[in-house]
């Protein structure tokens, strides 16, 4: 009987359950996706830094598990806030607490199981799409990678099942301890206490001071070394907490005292927001820190990626060198739009281990080479070689030309001779085609094909010994590529989790706000005014941790640029990643506003 009532209770609120389920399913999907990619050997070992990447992936996976825990906890609270009234009623009707406990545990586990299974299926789809999308983005090959990975399925199922069993028992315990009456009237109590102004002042000053200290520590990483990270972690976490608990509250109080607060629902909106911020201090702090971590991960990841072309072109002026290009090669070279090319004649004498070039050709079309003038800023300078330079083995020009030979000839001595002498050498004349792509990112596809053909042609040398800076570009791409992949991946996963956590925390408070909005409707507040108030309140809860998170990243990036990890400046991709991040965050905000309004704003009973 109770089971029947229970099911009908769920049916009546299926829209709210839909929200809960979609949140749970997305969480499971993200967790699966992360597990599938991080634990999949085929993925991690296919990149040169696979082992290092794996450690970072495991670290990320642990972080994700912790956030998932918090998420399941909040989602569960949301679930219980919907069911409290029903369970209270059952107890009122005389249901024994044992039966209620069983019902709660079963319901929680059933929800966990359904969402895990659906989540994994969707997760496999996500993994397929996202891994290919990202691999394409960073020119990484994922030939052996499969989105379905059994160990990841098991990890996900076990993780979520354990979480839900624990959650089920915890729910049951709280319910059995609460009286039926309290359950029936839950959500009608509020424990707002006006904080003392002295405490507020002390905490606000402490909070801002700690944050400033943390930011300074990250800025001064060159002197503080590892201590900077330790200090930063400690002061920023504590500072964030205090800033939410006091600084923002004081800010809102200042607004409340201004004449602004007497207009419309402003006094209500400001007071609600103030109350919420203090009530949500912990989750807002966590959201702000996670926001910073996620945005930081994406920015640093894309920052690394961004410096690849610069690093590569500083290491050599020509992108590829092709000896005796055939038609296929020529057509590939023609696919490169923005380029410059030079062709030299060349004769190889394997006995003497010498390569001959014509002086007149090197005179008419001088070889160019590039060298770094400022390594920290990734600034390189292009120089034009003089004929005399080829006499010295250690000259830049000689080294550049030497590096552009085919692997077998690289060790040979380069001799620049007159056209007459060149013609007298009794071997085949080779053609050396040097191609400079001015935009390596844009020309990546034909260049990759060229180097692939070359590495086949010259044996399995991993493509590294083929001449030209593009091989360097590829090497750096694969190193930084996995860093970027992980950065973006972790970033999106964190964002989805933190925004969902915040969403459910806000939504689980909706039930108790219903009474307030009902009263406001009765005393004559227009629907549009109610909706505006909701938007401002939820915007405040989303924006404040977001702003603080962005500030955290803005300072945190100092560690990378001043610490010398991200050469060429860590801020290049900051703007664009922040924008992309904010768009995703805004979607969550909009969804929260929609659901919240649906729950709290009274329906206008206008017929016709």
């Amino acid at each position: 009987m109770l089971f029947k009532i229970s099911i009908s209770g769920i049916k009546a609120r299926w829209k709210d359950y839909l929200v809960l389920f979609s949140g749970m399913i997305i969480t499971t999907a993200i967790f699966y996706m992360f597990e599938a990619i991080s634990t999949n050997d085929k993925f991690t070992t296919s990149s040169p830094v696979g082992q290092n990447a794996k450690i970072v992936f495991i670290f990320g996976s642990i972080l994700l598990a912790i956030i998932t825990l918090v998420y399941v906890f909040y989602a569960n609270n949301f679930l219980m806030s919907m069911r409290k009234h029903d369970y209270g009623l059952f107890m009122m009707l005389g249901a024994k607490s044992g039966i209620i406990s069983k019902l709660i545990i079963l319901e929680t586990i059933a929800i966990g199981l359904i969402s895990s299974v659906v989540g994994i299926i969707i997760g496999i789809g996500f993994t397929q799409v996202l891994s290919h999308f990202l691999a394409k983005l960073i020119h990484m090959s994922l030939t052996n990678f499969s989105a379905f990975y059994m160990p990841a399925v098991w990890t996900t199922i076990i993780m979520f099942l354990v979480l839900f069993i624990v959650a089920g028992f915890l729910n049951a315990r709280t319910f059995v301890k609460t009286s039926a009456l309290e359950l029936l009237h839950s959500g009608q109590q509020s424990d707002w206490k006006q904080p003392k102004s002295l405490t507020l002042w002390i905490q606000a000053i402490l909070g801002v001071g700690l944050l400033a200290g943390g930011y300074y520590a990250m800025y001064d990483i060159q002197r503080l070394k590892l201590m900077a990270i330790a200090i930063g972690l400690f002061t920023i976490v504590l500072g964030t907490y205090f800033v939410f608990n006091s600084f923002f509250v004081m800010l809102l109080q200042a607004f409340q005292r201004s004449s602004l607060s007497t207009k419309g629902l402003n006094s209500f909106t400001l007071a609600q927001l103030k109350f919420r911020i203090r009530d949500y201090t912990k989750i807002l702090s966590v959201v702000s820190l996670l926001f910073a971590l996620a945005l930081g991960a994406i920015t640093v990841g894309t920052g690394f990626q961004n410096m690849v072309p610069k690093l590569a072109s500083g290491n050599g002026y020509y992108s590829v060198a092709i000896t005796n290009p055939n038609d296929r090669m020529n057509s590939l070279v023609n696919q490169i739009k923005d380029k410059s090319t030079i062709t030299y004649q060349q004769k190889v004498d394997p006995q003497a281990k010498r390569v001959y070039y014509r002086a007149d050709q090197l005179q008419q079309q001088p070889l160019k080479y590039s060298e770094f003038v400022d390594r920290a800023a990734l600034k390189s300078k292009v120089s034009t070689s003089k004929l005399a330079e080829f006499k010295h083995v250690d000259s830049e020009a000689y080294q550049e030309l030497s590096s552009l030979q085919i692997p077998k000839v690289k060790a040979y001595q380069i001799k620049v001779v007159s056209a007459q002498t060149f013609n007298q050498i009794n071997t085949r004349t080779n053609k050396l085609l040097l191609v400079r792509a001015n935009n390596m990112d844009a020309a990546a596809t034909p260049l990759t094909k060229i180097t692939n053909i070359q590495s086949k042609q010259y044996g399995d040398q991993n493509g590294q010994l083929v001449g030209g800076s593009f091989t360097m570009y590829q090497l750096l791409k694969s190193v930084f590529g996995s860093l970027e992949f992980m950065g973006i991946f972790l970033g999106i996963a964190f964002l989805a989790m933190l925004a969902s956590c915040l969403m459910f925390k806000i939504l689980s408070g909706a039930a108790s706000d219903k009474v307030r909005f009902d009263m406001l409707n009765k005393i004559g507040t227009r629907r549009a005014v109610l909706n505006r108030s909701i938007i401002v309140q939820i915007l405040g809860l989303f924006a404040l941790p977001g702003i603080l998170g962005i500030i955290d990243v803005a300072f945190g990036l100092q560690m990378f640029s001043r610490g010398g990890l991200l050469v060429g400046g860590a801020y290049q991709t900051f703007g664009i990643t922040t924008l992309g991040f904010l768009i995703l965050y805004l979607i969550y905000f909009a969804v929260t506003v929609l659901i919240y309004s649906r729950i709290v704003v009274p329906k206008t009973k206008v017929e016709r």
Binding site: S190, F268, A271, I523, G524, R526
Partner: protein, 250 residues
């Protein structure tokens, strides 16, 4: 001639009109409340008194019939017009106070005026006046959690009064109070009424009802009976209500 503050003509309200089992909550109610009157509406649960109150308070619209409040037909207003009408012309006192815990008493009382975008100075004066009428000037800076049940209900009454409404609707306003505080609130309402404010009280509590000057009994969606306090003492009127309830409910 006395002005009529509330006048309804043949009010009908049917729920689930288009379904197989429509439910008729109001079956033709005609009533009127004169300016300065203190009227009570009594009836058992399901008699239709909450539906009636919701329609009178422009929270709901009748299926047919007309409602005029302060000379204005309110049955054909848009949602926004209804909201504005409520904020300007009507005051509410609810059973569970419905004060906002995060606002001080002062801010709670000021809310209806803020909604009308009144000037800060106007709000200040109006809040002081309303607080003065209810004797809660000292409580203005306090939060609801710092107030007793009776004090909260007086703050709620001040909020209902602050915009000088044409009429105050009370929905079981003493329901959450102990007898002392209930008595105090009813005395306050009587006092407000004597200053010329019309009050319409919905209750099922005979004691609360005995403070009214006229009582309408609703049964099965119709007005079944009506009694007038006339010159009777409150105690005599209370006895009369009890007797009436005894016969009326059968």
């Amino acid at each position: 001639m006395t002005t009529k503050i509330v006048q309804t003509e043949d009010l009908h309200k049917t729920y689930d009109k288009d379904s197989a089992k429509p439910y008729e909550a109001l079956k033709g109610i005609s009533l009127s409340v004169n300016e300065g009157e203190f009227v009570g509406i009594m009836g058992a649960s399901g008699s239709g008194k909450t539906t009636l109150l919701n329609i009178l308070a422009t929270l709901d619209q009748p299926t047919s019939g007309s409602v005029e409040i302060d000379g204005q037909d309110v049955t054909h207003l848009t949602a926004n017009q209804m909201a504005d009408f409520r904020s300007k012309k009507l005051g509410f006192i609810f059973q569970d106070f419905n004060l906002l815990e995060t606002l001080t008493a002062q801010e709670n009382i000021a809310l209806p005026l803020s909604l009308q975008n009144a000037k800060a100075a106007t709000i200040q004066t109006a809040v002081k006046t309303a607080a003065g009428k209810l004797g809660i000037e000292d409580l203005l800076g306090k939060y609801p959690t710092q107030l007793s049940g009776g004090q909260k209900q007086r703050v709620a009454a001040a909020r209902a009064l602050v915009s000088n409404p044409s009429i105050i609707f009370g929905d079981e306003p003493t329901g959450a109070l102990d007898s002392t505080n209930a008595r105090e609130l009813l005395d306050t309402l009587t006092n407000i009424n004597q200053q010329g404010v019309s009050i319409l009280l919905v209750t099922h509590d005979p004691f609360s009802a005995s403070f009214c000057k006229r009582i309408l009994f609703i049964k099965d969606g119709k007005i079944g009976d009506e009694i007038d306090a006339g010159d009777k003492s409150r105690n005599e009127f209370y006895q009369e209500i009890l007797e009436k309830l005894g016969t009326f409910e059968q």
